[in-house]
């Protein structure tokens, strides 16, 4: 089974390991991520005002390309790309006026025909977590995982609809399928600080600190995410947090595809852990997941 795949810019650069592991795992699970031809940036933010059409032209072009290349689905791995593409598609489907303005401008014929899927959704709805469980080679036994959703994977729920907005479980179900132990922590859907990291580092640090403390208080060994920006903030802010709070002990932040890869027995050396600021290898060795 082949799924048309939109990696997005970050997965080609800083978040390469999210992409690599995602592709490798898909092959092990019996499907292939077929990279969309000539893709461009998704725009990285969805316009928050109704008359801002120009920023929707990029994602609309991507969706129109997907359709013209003969596909009715498009898989994304990055939460941001997923959010922008899915919401753009929602406009194309439901708002005739805005759709006409954007498609007239880019001179494409598109009416929202493509279904935008997140990789996790493919695992849950197309592969099935039960089937995934059977394919696990090395269960993540004894590993306590804080499943951090962030905002963009879930909100706004009427447009995204991946899971219940205030109490999602898809990520926890995924970890259970891998044999790990998800921990419930109250900050799992709070914001990581996102782009505030650019102009108000303190805000981003505070947001990340609260999330990480909450995860650790709930007994987590590590935190997983689907979003390059969340991963960056949660990982990268830790030295800063330690400066103001010397008692703060660091915690590794992984992409969910990296854990998936470990459970499917892909080599840890190819998972790019050296790019993690907080090295997860000591923990993974201690838990016997990596030798």
């Amino acid at each position: 089974m082949k799924y048309p795949y939109f990696p997005g810019c970050t997965l080609y650069t800083k978040a390469k390991k999210l992409d690599d592991a995602g592709r490798e795992c898909s092959l092990k699970l019996g499907f292939e991520l077929d990279e969309l031809k000539d893709w461009t940036c998704c725009g990285a933010t969805f316009p928050l005002v109704n008359d801002q059409h120009i920023t929707m032209s990029g994602p609309t072009r991507i969706l129109a390309d997907t359709k013209e290349q003969g596909n009715d689905k498009l898989v994304a791995l990055c939460s941001v790309c997923y959010n922008v593409l899915k919401r753009t598609n929602h406009v194309m489907l439901n708002d005739e006026e805005r759709r006409a303005k954007v498609t007239d401008f880019i001179e494409r014929d598109y009416h929202g025909e493509v279904e935008v899927l997140h990789y996790l959704q493919v695992l849950r709805d197309e592969i099935g977590f039960d089937a995934l469980k059977e394919k696990v080679v090395k269960p993540l036994a004894g590993l306590k995982v804080a499943c951090y959703y962030g905002c963009l994977l879930l909100r706004p729920v009427k447009e995204i609809g991946l899971d219940v907005m205030e109490n999602p479980t898809i990520f926890e179900d995924f970890i259970r399928a891998l044999g790990g132990e998800p921990v419930e922590f109250p900050y799992k859907i709070e914001c990581c600080g996102a782009f505030q990291a650019v102009h108000s580092m303190d805000t981003a640090t505070r947001c990340s600190r609260d999330i990480l403390n909450s995860a650790k208080d709930s007994g987590a060994d590590l935190v997983i995410t689907t979003c390059p920006l969340c991963q960056f903030n949660l990982d990268d802010r830790q030295p800063e947090i330690q400066k103001s709070d010397p008692g703060f002990s660091s915690i590794p932040i992984l992409y969910f595809t990296q854990l998936l890869a470990l459970a499917l027995d892909l080599s840890a050396e190819e998972l790019g852990f050296e790019r993690n600021l907080i090295d997860p290898l000591p923990l993974l060795r201690e838990k016997g997941i990596v030798s």
Binding site: K158, V164, E166, N167, P186, Y187, S214, D217
Partner: protein, 667 residues
């Protein structure tokens, strides 16, 4: 034979006369087929105006009359009465509405408005030509009542009706009457002691020779119509015989089951056999079949409770031999003339608010649970103690509008009582815990009744309640405390409040099962499944089915004061109905042409009043004259055109449309 027709055109002061040329209209009307008299008058509805109509009918022997004036909703009855008083059958008089449907909407074009008025008159004349003289329908009344729901609304309605001399059957789903009010300790705005107030009323009900209470019962089927209902009542099996039971309580001690007690909102546990609540009327235990090990699957019983196969612990423990696990449900019938629907409310499930952790965090409770904490006979003996560790909470956050006023995700409406009961609960908490702090998160404070605003103000000033305007984003549990994330929108600050207990003022929604019950009772409901009244201003307690009245929170969220007012209004309405020996109904209803009806039954499904019934013998769909409201739904639906509305036949309407359509240009 041609009818002699008369036309009376009203000026309605200048309301009609300023945009319709009434003299010209008279001149045109005189030319119309069959018209032997036409004239106009300044106020036709006035006494001299009515006299004019009466005199002319008598003088000229009119056989049909059109009064061209305001909407028939205003004065149809007035003129029909006038016509009837001089011997013209009332149903041979029709109103031509030339005010709302003509003069008011065409104020700038007098010639066109005049032409339209004339064509409306012409159309109405054509209708009158084919109108039949009719007699009103009379219906016998069974002067007994049924009250569905034994909460405070049902109790108050039943007592008034019974005291007026009419028999009442109360149908109550739970094992005791009293409803949600029996969960409440004190009321706003005067801190009345509820158990005392309520027990008095419950005692009155139980002692009243004219009231029969069906506990553990629901309406199974409703047949009949206004004045003559037949209510079939289903009662759960009476496992405990109240005549034998001495209320010793031995069975309660031996029951191996432990489940959350609904009456105490899960703050305590109960067995499968239990006392429903602490009121006098609930001293006899009830057995909940759903929870009882005797009735559950055998393996499950062994696994879950280790209580052995087919548990009979309570039967064996009972010294009076009062428990019979073989009891079966019973059906009873009540023949009544009127019904009060006092079905009440449920609180919206806190489980639908995962952001507040309700259901997961034990110290997040709903408002009724907090009432249980305040009740001296409640699970904590009236002490406000938090459920997780039984400690006295020092910081309590009350959150209002939980699920209410949230059209996107929950309920769009305001639940009305929450502002006040939250103020009451917070005040009672502060009176009990002097060193405690009560925060109240609110959107607006709606304190719009006698002494309500003063009550809230006193809470702020005397009990130092901390009101914070804003919506709470999230409640989480951290290190044994609750953290409440909110904002103060008056100062634009983000707040995090550490709390020991959070109380959610959940939205009120119609009692579970209201939708199904409404269908059985043929009562319409709104989008939120609240029972709909006929008219919010003028017929506030009448349902869409004649003879079925509405009281309490089943109709919309309200407090006890409003609930009782409404309940007493239903009792008044029913007494008014019972003050007549028979009911009089309008004969303008559907009629079936027996030779055309094929008995397909489409009209039966479409009728919103349940007035159409298949005659099993003739296989023709009959019209129940007492129930039919003449809405016309069956006429539109009938594929064979076998139904007609009396005096509004298709033939009459087609002619009227022809008259209107043919007169487009100015006279």
């Amino acid at each position: 034979m041609k009818k002699k027709l008369g036309v009376f055109i009203c000026w309605c002061g200048s309301n009609i006369a300023s945009s319709v040329d009434v003299d010209k209209a008279v001149a045109e009307a005189e030319k119309l087929d069959g018209v032997v008299h036409a004239e106009n008058y300044m106020y036709m509805c006035s006494d001299p105006g009515q006299q004019l109509v009466k005199d002319t009918i008598a003088e000229k022997g009119l056989e049909g009359v059109v009064v061209a004036c305001c909407s028939p909703r205003m004065h149809e009855n007035t003129f029909r009465k006038a016509a009837g008083s001089v011997g013209l059958n009332s149903y041979l008089l029709e109103i031509a509405n030339i005010r709302e449907q003509c003069s008011w909407v065409h104020q700038n074009n007098k010639p066109l408005a005049t032409a339209k008025a004339v064509s409306i008159i012409e159309g109405t004349l054509d209708k009158v030509k084919e109108n039949l003289p009719l007699e009103t329908i009379t219906i016998d009344i069974t002067k007994r009542n049924c009250v569905v729901g034994g909460g405070i609304a049902g109790i108050m309605a039943a007592l008034d009706l019974a005291n007026a001399g009419y028999d009442v059957a109360i149908i109550e789903k739970e094992p005791a009457i009293g409803g949600h009010m029996s969960q409440i300790g004190q009321t706003f705005p005067y801190f009345h002691n509820v158990p005392e107030l309520l027990q008095k009323k419950i005692d009155e009900v139980n002692a009243h020779p004219r009231i029969k209470v069906y506990l553990n019962s629901e309406v199974e089927v409703l047949d009949g119509y206004v004045g003559n209902f037949n209510v079939t009542i289903r009662t759960k099996p009476a496992f405990v015989d109240p005549d034998k039971c001495s209320a010793c309580g031995k069975c309660l001690e031996v029951c191996p089951v432990s489940v959350a007690d609904e009456f105490n909102r899960g703050l305590s546990q109960r067995g499968a056999i239990f006392r429903y609540n602490q009121t006098e009327g609930a001293r006899i235990p009830v057995l909940e079949q759903r929870d009882c090990l005797h009735f559950v699957d055998v393996e499950e019983a062994e696994m879950d409770a280790g209580a052995g196969v087919r548990c009979r612990a309570c039967v064996e423990a009972c010294p009076e031999n009062a428990i019979d696990l073989g009891a079966i449900r019973t059906l009873s019938e009540e023949f009544v003339g009127a019904i009060v629907m006092a079905t009440g409310y449920d609180l919206y499930s806190p489980a639908k608010m995962p952001e507040y952790g309700a259901g997961k965090i034990p110290d997040v409770i709903d408002a009724l649970a907090f009432e249980r904490l305040l009740d001296p006979k409640g699970p904590t003996g009236g002490q406000v103690l938090r459920p997780s560790d039984g400690k006295v909470p020092k910081n309590v956050v009350f959150i209002q509008c939980v699920g209410s006023r949230d059209p996107e995700r929950h309920k769009a409406y305001c639940s009305r009582a929450c502002c006040m009961y939250t103020a009451k609960q917070a005040r009672l908490y502060r009176q009990q815990v002097a060193e405690g702090t009560a925060y109240i998160s609110y959107m607006d404070i709606r304190s719009d009744s006698r002494d309500f605003e003063e009550f809230v103000q006193a809470g702020m000033e005397e009990e130092n309640l901390v009101y914070i305007r804003g919506r709470v984003a999230k409640v989480i549990q951290e290190n044994g405390f609750l953290k409440v994330f909110t904002s103060d929108t008056l100062t634009s600050r983000q707040l995090e409040i550490e709390a020991d207990l959070v109380v959610l003022a959940m939205a009120m929604e119609p009692k579970a099962g209201t939708r199904e019950l409404a269908k059985k009772m043929n009562v319409t409901i709104d989008g939120d499944a609240f029972l709909s009244e006929t008219h919010i201003k003028l017929y506030p307690v009448e349902s869409s089915t004649k003879g079925v009245y509405l009281a309490g929170c089943g109709q919309s969220p309200k407090d006890i004061t409003d609930t009782v007012s409404q309940a007493l209004a239903t009792a008044g309405k029913i007494q008014l109905m019972f003050s007549n020996e028979t009911l009089i109904a309008d004969p303008l209803i559907a009629e079936v042409k027996n030779d055309i009806c094929s008995g397909c039954g489409i009209c039966i499904d479409i009728c919103p009043y349940g007035a159409r019934l298949m005659n099993d013998f003739t296989r023709i769909s009959d019209v129940n004259q007492a129930v039919c409201q003449g809405c016309g739904a069956c006429i539109a639906a009938c594929p064979n055109k076998a139904c007609e509305l009396i005096n509004s036949t298709s033939r009459q309407f087609i002619r009227m449309i022809g008259d209107f359509a043919g007169k487009a240009e100015a006279v």
